[in-house]
């Protein structure tokens, strides 16, 4: 998809973003530009640092000692609480006794097959694909897995725009072992659905999820799941 924004235009918007005045509609445009422009990413950091110097001109008002005590009491209480299983472990555990998705399994599931996913990827050839639903608190979407081209397209509605410091990262989750960061969701034009394209086989993964991560992605998902779905055929 062509980036319609010049660095000059992007820089104007980055200055607005740094002081918090950027309009939500412009955020998606500037995010798309930042995704491919290192100089503007650097300029974004510089403007953010400059804006954060504004409070340095204020007279420092120290918080009451009570606030520190309250905060640290809460932190230490949570630090010693028994640890819960990670959210992705719970997701895997919640999967009913269906068959995990495999390349062979998917081809056999005629009922779930839809035709025409490749129109999304810009090709006209008909090919078979399997569609799964994904959902979260506000988000809904579908994952279309092309079983012949070994490509999957995740399309999601209902996600809110993120600041330039964050991305939606898509994870493929195996029944055992750590989730694999597979792609980032890109915002659609004019508030359209978010999409992510993933190459390679989906075989061996039982769930998919998306989380909010710092720009550039994380080695493991944080506890900020915005949607999830199961790659199983019941």
């Amino acid at each position: 998809m062509a980036d319609p924004m010049s660095c000059e235009e992007a820089t104007d918007l980055l200055a607005l973003e740094a002081v918090g005045a950027l309009e939500p509609a412009d955020r998606e445009l500037v995010e798309r530009h930042l995704a491919t422009c290192a100089p503007c990413t650097h300029a974004a950091a510089e403007y953010a640092d400059l804006a954060s110097l504004l409070p340095a001109a204020l007279d420092l008002v120290p918080p009451p000692a009570r606030l520190r005590r309250q905060l640290m009491a809460q932190v230490y209480a949570e630090a010693t609480a028994p640890s819960r299983p990670s959210w992705w472990r719970r997701l895997v555990a919640a999967i009913p006794a269906g068959r995990p998705f495999t390349a062979i399994g998917a081809v056999a599931v005629v009922a779930a097959i839809v035709v025409g996913i490749y129109a999304v990827a810009g090709r006209n050839a008909t090919s078979t694909s399997v569609t799964y639903t994904v959902s979260g608190t506000t988000a809904t979407g579908t994952l279309s897995v092309d079983t012949t081209a070994r490509q999957a397209v995740l399309t999601v509605k209902g996600l809110s725009a993120l600041p330039s410091s964050e991305v939606y990262e898509v994870w493929l989750i195996p029944p055992q072992g750590a989730p694999k960061g597979a792609a980032f969701l890109s915002p659609g034009l004019g508030g359209g659905p978010w999409t992510a394209v993933m190459g390679g086989s989906m075989a061996g993964y039982t769930s998919i999820a998306a989380t909010v991560e710092p720009a550039g992605g994380s080695p493991t998902p944080s506890n900020t799941e915005v949607l999830s779905g199961q790659l199983t055929v019941s």
């Binding site: 200055a15 204020l58 944080s222």
Partner: protein
């Protein structure tokens, strides 16, 4: 022992309570100052500071060195939460909670850090004072008032493009002016 910002980030990433403690001791005062400037309400400002540091604790550090300093990261977290609260409160009346007698504890334990903060406050004040009034007002409406580009345009009765231009020129001028001051106040190596 003096922890660098990098040490603090590593400690938070390792989910260590000491990391949050160090973060609070270094930037809690700044966080409280920002929240109070935005909300003009002690109780609300304290809530926002507590929520912000707890969010960092619960979620782990999402700080990325390439995307700005630790200082600007925590400022942004606190500012955004305070603005969210302010915007919510614009549509309802608050019952002000009584302020109890409370002690103040120093938030800066490192004397060199204290000097740096004071120096920078004075330098930043001067640099801000040099901006034309309409530019300074524009960035303050945005940063402390939580107004968006179009809201500022309406408030100041200027076109959208003027707001955009003023913010960028103001930040570019601030950068140039602070860079000059840094060169004159810090001996070059």
């Amino acid at each position: 022992m003096h922890l660098s910002d990098d040490d603090i980030v590593r400690s938070i990433s390792a989910h260590s309570p000491e990391g949050i403690e160090a973060l609070y001791d270094r930037y809690g005062g700044l966080a409280h100052t920002v929240a109070l400037r935005i909300l003009s309400d002690r109780g609300a400002a304290e809530d926002v500071v507590q929520e912000s540091f707890l969010a960092v604790w619960r979620r782990g550090s999402t700080f990325q060195p390439g995307r700005g300093s630790l200082r600007s990261w925590i400022c942004t977290i606190v500012r955004n939460r305070a603005i969210d609260r302010l915007r919510g409160d614009r549509h309802r009346t608050r019952l002000d909670s009584p302020i109890e007698g409370e002690s103040i504890e120093p938030t800066v334990s490192d004397p060199w850090a204290a000097v740096a903060v004071e120096l920078s406050a004075e330098e930043v004040r001067k640099a801000l004072a040099e901006l034309p009034a309409e530019q300074r007002q524009t960035i303050e409406l945005a940063y402390y008032g939580g107004f968006s580009q179009s809201e500022i345009a309406t408030k100041m009765e200027v076109p959208l493009g003027t707001v955009k231009g003023r913010v960028r020129i103001a930040l570019d001028k601030l950068r140039a002016s602070l860079a000059d001051r840094m060169e004159t106040s810090w001996p070059t190596q």
